[in-house]
Symmetry: C2
Subunit: 381 residues, 2 copies
């Protein structure tokens, strides 16, 4: 077991109607003025927007609004938020939405306390030393951004999808009310499930130091996500399944699963990020395509863990059979498993590989894999 530091100071307020307390949570933290950040129509259509405004007013929290965050969130929007925050002397960023909003809130929080270009943090040119406190009210569970210090942003100019990780942008408090997630489309539910599974298996398969306890936690997460996804496809109003899905999604990327491992790598995420960056593919959809291809290519490098996965998750002994069953399950819940389903032509593969390879450099590895290898993996998709 490797040495590690575990520190996750995010407070989670989980359950029904908790979004109505957001004003008092902010007031308790001594906040008087927030940037109120959200996506588009859905927050207004669902009535959530009004609830938040009422709660802020009730606790006398001033706010400046910024909407228009999109999935695969853009640096240009982040820069708008930073400018507003500086101009209005904002004290905290309140993000209402899914992972994209939370990730953008973190970027704004860091950028508002920095004199240079916030993109410096993403390309590893500067380190975050200070940030505004971040609060979130989540409407989608997948990225675990509500309980970690990660933020993934796309630079609209350079088409790079890069990330940061700092406990300084961990949300101070996140509200998770599963009822707010009941309107998530079946498509996005499927993508979210794939994303959670992706977070779980990256270190599980790639770490060379991986204690049994970590494997057991990962398997618990995957089993629960698969089980609750199937329940929710049949009955989107099942509150308990929605709640268990939401809480499990958080555990997949809040620091618990890699603690004590040697960290492993995130090849599926890195390859997928090139798909989202170049083709604006939904992250979970891209992952559903990349994961089975990567597993087929990689399995021999850690065959015992692939056999364990097959046994624990699908009760079969053969590594190939486990991969096939996972791929079939992705299809069954409505996620794409081939590049063709994403309308990405075969002759785009090399450009994708070059983009993914560039990302690996920024993440501190010399190269993720050679371009040739990434091409080989994507050919399987």
């Amino acid at each position: 077991m490797n040495n590690f530091t575990y520190y996750n100071p995010t407070k989670i307020e989980f359950g029904k109607e908790k979004e109505n307390n957001i004003g008092s949570y902010l007031a308790e933290a001594g906040i008087k003025k927030v940037l109120f950040l959200y996506g588009t129509r859905s927050v207004k259509a669902s009535g959530l927007y009004d609830k938040i405004i009422n709660s802020l007013n009730k606790s006398k929290i001033e706010f400046v609004e910024l909407s228009g965050v999109v999935s695969n969130p853009l640096l240009s929007k982040v820069n708008e938020g930073i400018e507003l925050s500086k101009k209005h002397k904002i004290e905290a960023v309140l993000g209402i939405g899914g992972g994209s909003v939370a990730d953008s809130a973190k970027a704004i929080a860091a950028g508002a306390k920095y004199d240079g270009d916030v993109w410096d943090f993403y390309i590893n040119k500067a380190q975050i030393t200070e940030a505004l406190p971040v609060f979130t009210v989540m409407t989608l569970s997948a990225t675990a951004s509500e309980m970690n210090g990660n933020s993934v942003i796309i630079n609209d100019d350079t088409k790079q999808k890069y990330s940061i990780s700092s406990v300084l942008v961990n949300p101070v408090l996140s509200v998770i009310n599963p009822e707010l997630m009941q309107t998530v489309t079946p498509e996005y539910l499927a993508y979210s499930a794939v994303d959670v599974i992706a977070h779980s298996i990256e270190v599980y398969f790639t770490a060379s130091v991986h204690p049994h306890f970590n494997s057991r936690i990962v398997e618990s997460i995957i089993k629960t996500v698969m089980e609750t996804t199937e329940i929710l496809i049949a009955n989107p109003d099942d509150y308990d399944a929605r709640a268990e899905f939401a809480w499990t999604a958080i555990q997949a990327l809040n620091g618990l699963t890699p603690a004590g491992t040697d960290g492993g790598s995130f090849p599926n995420h890195m390859i997928e990020h090139s798909l989202s960056a170049l083709y604006n593919v939904a992250h979970g959809a891209g992952l559903a395509v990349v994961i089975p291809a990567w597993m087929k290519w990689y399995k021999e490098q850690n065959i015992s863990q692939f056999q364990r996965f097959s046994k624990e998750i699908f009760n079969c002994d053969d590594a190939n059979e486990g991969i096939e069953k996972l791929e079939n399950w992705f299809s069954k819940i409505g996620a794409p498993v081939t590049l063709k389903e994403l309308d990405i032509p075969r002759d785009a593969i090399e450009a994708l590989a070059i983009n993914a390879n560039g990302l690996a450099k920024v993440w501190g590895m010399d190269t993720l894999y050679p371009v040739k290898t990434i091409v080989e993996i994507l050919e399987k998709a």
Copy 2:
């Protein structure tokens, strides 16, 4: 799934040699003067005492020493610590030892900021609103006190073993170096394993709302603790097993396993506390006696969960068989499973039941069980 708040801001510094940084961890937190609290000889004999002193000196942290904390820690020692802290204007409490030291450190931290009698918190006469920051370096893993806000203290006058729980006394930072635990006796290793299993199963069996994910986490903890205990009995120097045991023990009582349940109750702990309070039995030893007896008495009230337990942990279908296998496993690792092995006579049972019943009242339940029921349970032991 029930509503819940999850908040655990303790930073864990886990791994080899991390105790040598304790001075700099304190300095980074702005602390200049600590109460250095520990148990007895073993801390000096192992060389840990010198390492801590060197690290404190190196970071120019002043300290006032207090030793003599015993297992089943006493209120009289806590009061000594509070007096010293007030007199010397102590800024933080640094506890070096096992759960008893951590629990005492928390009591002192709360008492040092309170004008009344610290016992008020334990009998629910007052609520903690402020405390000195607590830091720990652990030499034994069992109670998870290193990552929670719980403190259990025995009042030497009244013979009550009562507890508090407040995030205000969560350690700010805990150092877990499994190497420091390699000298734990086989006897205490066994008691620790039982304690971790006890923390895991209380809510698992008694909650009426218990999501599958929680069951899976609990089962992951129990499997890992059993596996690593057996490895450590055979080879006490196995670092990885020691490390996995230590990290798993923390997960059993850091707030993760009950999140989203309806809380359940802690009958085994409450009954055991009367054994420790009246007979100074080691907590884990008392639990090993109480648990199988309680399980035999309780099983019909949640038979499906007992069947699940038997299947997951011992791969057998019958609830009774699972209980029997757990009892045998306790015996196998050297824990007592009868009151007789603890030298507690049959005619003491009623007094124990009355004491346990009194504790339940303080914990906010009218009664845990009627005295008659507790007698019935203990008769099975």
